[in-house]
Symmetry: C2
C-alpha cells in the first residue's frame, strides 16, 4: 500500500468538499471531522444526497457554477478542495454556465472531448487556476480506502483468482481508451465491460442476461473487478464500493468482488463486510501492482 | 479485399447449413441455390426462425444433438457444412447432449471455458472429427459480404472517421480477450463496449443512457463499429448487419455504422441501403487492414 497518510490536520481553515452522489461524500466529511478538520460541503444539485448533505455545513451549487463556488469557498476561507462522490458524466445540455465558467468556456468545451480522465484533469486545472489546492479524498480520510485482503470471511478460490487476473488484464488493456473501471469475468469468459453506463447498470445487465439464459456460467461463478485506470490521478474518481455494490454483485449471481487495496473507496466498511457475509460473496482488496 | 471467392459450385451433394437466428441463414441458402447448389438446413431449435427455415428442405435439431446431426447429414449425403446466424452463447444448463455429444463431453466442457473463439474453434474440430468440412458462409455466398465504401449516399465525415479509428483501436486492444465485436464511440468518448450482451442490447443501452441524460454528445454524433476479432476464423461468427441494425443505430442517435468490407455479412443489402437513406445515417465498409 502506498496511500499517502497525512499527519492529522489541525489547520483552522475548513476543507471544501464538492459532493457528487452516493454515501461516500458524507463518509469523507465525517472522517475529516474526526481528524479535527472543519468541513464545508458544496453539494452538486441533482447529484448529492440532500439528507446526507444536511448533516454538515453546506451550500448547493449547480454544475458549471464555478464563479459561485469560488465566491462561496473564498468567503468560507477554504483553500483545499476535495471532489468526491459518484459523478454522472453530465450532458452538455444539462449544464448551466455562470460568468466565471463562461470565461473558461473554450477550456470547458475541450473538457468534454475525450474520456473521463481528461475531463477530470481539466477540471482540476480550472480550480487550481483560482488558487485552490485539490486533494484526494484518501488524503483527508485514509480510513475510507479499501484494506488489503478479504472483508468478511469468504476468500476467492483458484477459479475466482484466475477470473480476477483476466479482468485486471482486460482493464489494463482498455486503459488507454479512458473507459470505465470495471469488468465482469466468469470462468474466463468476459461477460461485461463497463463504459459510460457505470457499474450499477453493468451488473443489472448481467441479471437481465441471466434471466434470458444468455449467461453460460451458473450462479455463484464469476467476479466483478473494479480498478483505477493505469496512470489515473488518485485525487479524483477512485473506484468506490459500498453495501449496494455487494448487493448488486450478489443479485448478478457472481461469486464476489475484487478491488485494488489503497486505491478504492469503501463507503461503509462495516456494512460492506456484513452484506458480503449475508450474501455469501467475497470482497477482496488486492495488493496494488507496482506502478 | 481478400474474401475467398470460390468458383460456382455445381456438385450434386447438398450443402448442410446449420442455422442460428436472424435473416442471414435464409440469405445464404438462397445465394447457394442461385449458385446451383442444393441445400439442407439444420435449424437449431430456439434460435432459427421457423418461417424462414420452412422455405427450404430442413431438419430441426437441438443444441448438443451432434449424433442426430451426423446421422441426418450423412443420410442427406452432405459433406460440407456452413454455420450461420446469430448464436446466443448457450447456457450449459439449456443444452441437451445426445450420445455422440456425450462421448465428446470432456471436449465439450472445455469448449465452454474461455471466449467465443475458443468455443467455435472447438466446435469446428468436433465436426471435422466426423468427416465434415466446414466452410465459411462467404465461401458459398460471397455476395452476402459487405462491399467497400458507403451503402447509400451518406459518407462519414472527419469527426466520424476519427471515432471509427478509435473504436477499431479499442476492438483491436480487447481482441486477446475474445469478447464482442462492437463498440460505440462518440466524439472520442467510448460510450459502450460489447461483451456477452450482443450488439442489439448495447445499442438499446445507448438509447436508455441518452434518455437519462448520461450521453454527453448530442444526437447525430457517434458511430457503431463492428469488426472481427484479430485472428478470428472467418468460417464462423463474422459480424453481421441488417436493416434492423441500421434502425437501432438511428434510434441510438448515432451518425452511422462502420464495418470491415469483406469480413462482415449483410443480411439484406438493398433494405440496408434504403433504411440508411431514410434514417439519414451512413453505413460504410472499411478497407480491411493487412493481416
Amino acid at each position: 500500500m502506498d496511500a499517502e497518510i497525512r499527519s492529522q490536520d489541525t489547520r483552522t481553515e475548513p476543507l471544501a468538499i464538492v459532493c457528487g452522489g452516493g454515501a461516500v461524500p458524507a463518509a469523507v466529511a465525517e472522517a475529516a471531522l474526526r481528524a479535527g478538520r472543519r468541513v464545508v460541503l458544496f453539494a452538486i444539485r441533482g447529484w448529492a444526497d440532500p439528507e446526507l448533505v444536511a448533516r454538515f455545513p453546506h451550500h448547493w451549487i449547480a454544475l458549471g457554477q464555478l464563479g459561485r463556488f469560488v465566491r462561496l469557498a473564498r468567503a468560507e476561507n477554504c483553500r483545499e478542495v476535495v471532489f468526491i462522490g459518484s459523478a454522472l458524466r453530465p450532458s452538455l445540455r444539462s449544464m448551466r454556465f455562470d460568468l466565471a465558467a463562461l470565461r473558461h468556456l473554450p477550456k470547458a468545451m475541450a473538457m468534454f472531448r475525450g474520456g473521463d480522465d481528461h475531463l477530470l484533469t481539466a477540471t482540476a486545472r480550472l480550480f487550481e487556476d483560482y488558487g485552490f489546492r485539490l486533494l484526494g479524498a484518501h488524503e483527508v480520510a485514509p480510513e475510507i480506502l479499501m484494506p488489503e485482503g478479504a472483508m468478511g470471511q469468504l476468500q476467492p478460490g483458484a477459479r475466482e483468482n484466475a477470473d480476477i487476473a483476466r479482468a485486471l488484464a482486460l482493464i489494463h488493456a482498455i486503459g488507454p481508451f479512458d473507459i470505465g473501471q470495471g469488468a465482469v469475468v466468469a470462468d474466463q469468459y468476459v461477460l461485461a465491460v463497463e463504459a459510460a453506463e457505470g457499474t450499477d447498470n453493468m451488473l443489472a445487465r448481467i441479471v437481465e442476461l441471466r434471466r434470458l439464459g444468455r449467461i453460460p456460467t451458473p450462479v455463484g461463478v464469476g467476479v466483478l473487478v473494479k480498478a483505477p485506470k493505469p496512470g489515473q490521478d488518485n485525487r479524483f474518481d477512485l473506484p468506490a464500493i459500498g453495501p449496494k455494490t455487494v448487493a448488486e454483485v450478489a443479485r448478478a449471481g457472481l461469486a464476489g468482488l475484487a478491488v485494488i487495496a489503497g486505491r478504492t473507496i469503501v463507503a461503509e466498511p462495516a456494512l460492506v463486510a456484513l452484506a458480503a457475509q449475508r450474501a455469501k460473496i467475497f470482497v477482496v482488496g488486492l495488493r496494488d501492482a507496482p506502478r
